[in-house]
Structure formats: structure tokens, C-alpha cells
Amino acid sequence: MLDELALPLLLAERMEEVRGKTRFQKLLYIFQKRCEERNMGVQIFQYQPYLYGPFSMELARTIDNLVHERLLVESSDMTESGNTVVTYSLAPEGKEFLEKVRKDIQIDNRRLDILNEVVNDCSGLQLTDLVTFAKSL
């Protein structure tokens, strides 16, 4: 339960800003997949194959709950073409929460390294490329 709340917050902390829920979905899927490959896989979110790659209803709802609990800040941003997209960032309360639970969560350093690796490798991808990549795993 704690991991379920902490993982999206850790991703937001590392990314500074997560542009759209789809990015959340795919980046955390890639993270879970890499943990699995390296035998460090505790599946935190259950994913199902969907039209745009793996999708977790549990994660979608968790993000909403984190926004509702004011641990994540949901704001709007504009694309170059003038469309509005929703972005997520860590709220000060989210930062406090992470500091409090950091010792208790099961995400050990090796898994945090994987999360950093996913952020480094994939955060710069265009959304469509990220979706294609997540689908290919």
C-alpha cells in the first residue's frame, strides 16, 4: 500500500514534472518490467494490455487519489500546437510524505537506481515513442 502511494511520488520527484497520465502509466510499467527482469520484481501495479499499451486502472486511480490528497499537484500546460495537457508535480506535502515514509517503503536502493535509469532513458521520449516502447516490452 505504501509502495503504491510512494512509487508515483518518487517518479514525480525525479521527473520534476510528469506530463500526462499516460507518461506515468508507461514509465512505471517500464520500471516494473526492468525490476522483473533483474529479479527485483514486486508487482506494485497490475497492468492489462490496452489499446495504447499496458494500462493499470489501479495506477490511474492512485494518481487521482494522490491529487485529491494534495500530495501531487495537477496543473495544465500547453503543447506547442496550443492544446492543453495535464501535468503532475510533487506537492510540498508529497515531499514531506516521502521523507516520512522513505525508511519504511520496500523500494530499496537498487530499485531506486532502476527508477532513475528509467527516467534517464525514457523521460525525453515523445509520448507516441514512449507508448510504442512500452508496448514492445
Binding site: 490496452y50 496550443g82 492543453t84
Partner: protein, 266 residues
Amino acid sequence: MDEDGRQDPITQFIDTMRSQRILNDTELEIYDFGLRQTILTSSDVAKHFNIRPSTASNRLKHLTKQGYLEESPRDGASKRSGKGHAFKYRAVHPKLALRSFISGRMSLEAAVQKIIEPLEITAESASYEGDMWLARAQTLAISEGIRKIDSAQRSIYISGRDCSWLKDPDVKEAITKAAKRKVAVKVAASQLDRGLRSTIKTTGASLVNCPIIGPNFCVIDKSVLLIPYKTSGLNEPYELLLTTHDYLVQGFVKYFEGLPSLIGPK
């Protein structure tokens, strides 16, 4: 409400049902009455709401058919109506009465979660530059306007006669948040009333009275133009026109930046 201003749970529940438009006001009043009574009859309802017994009876039957009340079968073999044989009703527990509604809402929520992905992919790839979009419903007009204000990174130019649309508390909050994150919010209005003038000042926006009655618009980051307007009477709701059409947007930016009293020498 109690001393601390807390609403009683039944009123709160009925208000939520009202806001979700689950039943109409008359039906809700009867259901509320039913939840507070053990047994209802049409004469109780007629008396309580000061309506005719036949009307009360029809409303109770209607609510029974919809699953919010249940009726007690009459005693005796004869089912004919008559004096002394009033139908008895009682309110169905909300969990049961709303079961299909709640499961419908859950499926709707799941469907909304799933539709986010294709919408985000479209938003990041498709270009609608040049198109003009009209949000006709006032709630949509306000939320679209707020979303755009929330997305501002550098500047928000607001022009208008009295800028009365800024009175909306959510719009005011969005403007305040923008000013706090160092977005340059500038308001040029020719006929601001005193109340709105102080409201705008509290948001952190720069404010200068405009000598001429200017057009009503808002430009976000010199790239998105929002035009709130009323289609007819003063009491009509606002609609909102949105566009990123560069030529059009730049025309409004030029007008705004040309207001010497606001911007000062370039």
C-alpha cells in the same frame, strides 16, 4: 445544521443527489421525507407538502417504480382502493436504491480513465492551429478558461470594459495562482467597479484604467486568445471563444501592448 455548522447526513446525502441530478427536486423532497419517517402514506405526504392526496399518491407510486420506495401490500383479498386501506410506503436504503447508479458511475469513471490516453496522445501530436473553438456551456467556458490560465508560463493580458467575468471565484483563484508563479498578469479595463478593482488588486495583477472601452479578451503567453462574450441579454451566461490562430492572436497582443498607460514605453 448543528452548532459547528455541520449538515445532518440525510440533508447532505440529498444535496449530493440533487447536485448529481439523480432525482428531481419534488422527488428528492419526498425521498428525504421518507428517509426521516418509518412509514409513509399518501395522506402524510399530502399533509406535509400541502398537495392533493391524489398527487401525493402518484408521486409515491412513481418513486416506488423507480426503486426509491417500497410499498406494503394491502391486507385482505381485495386490492381495490378505498377508505381505510391506505398504501403504506417506506424509503428504500440508499445503498440499494442507488446500486445501479453507483455501479454505472464506477463504469463511467473507468471509461474516463481509459479515454485519457488517446486524448493525451492526440493533444501532444495533433495541431489545431488556426481553428476557433466555442465553449457554449458556461461551466465549460469557465473551466476551459481556467485551464488556459493555469497553463500560462509568461504573461496573461486581460482587456475589457468591466471584466465582470473575473468575478468568478475560480477564475480569480486561477489568476492569483498565475501571479504567484510570477506570470505577468495585466488587466486593462475602462469601467471597473470598485469591488472588482480591489478584487483584482488582491490577485497580484497589474491594473490600469483604460481610457477607451476596449474589446473583451484574454491572451495567454501571447499564443492563445480567449474571448468571453454574452450572446444576448445581460443575464445570459458567458460563452468562450478560443483560438491559437497566430495572426489573430498577434493582433490582440499588439492592441494590448499599444495601451501606453498600461505597458509604458517600450
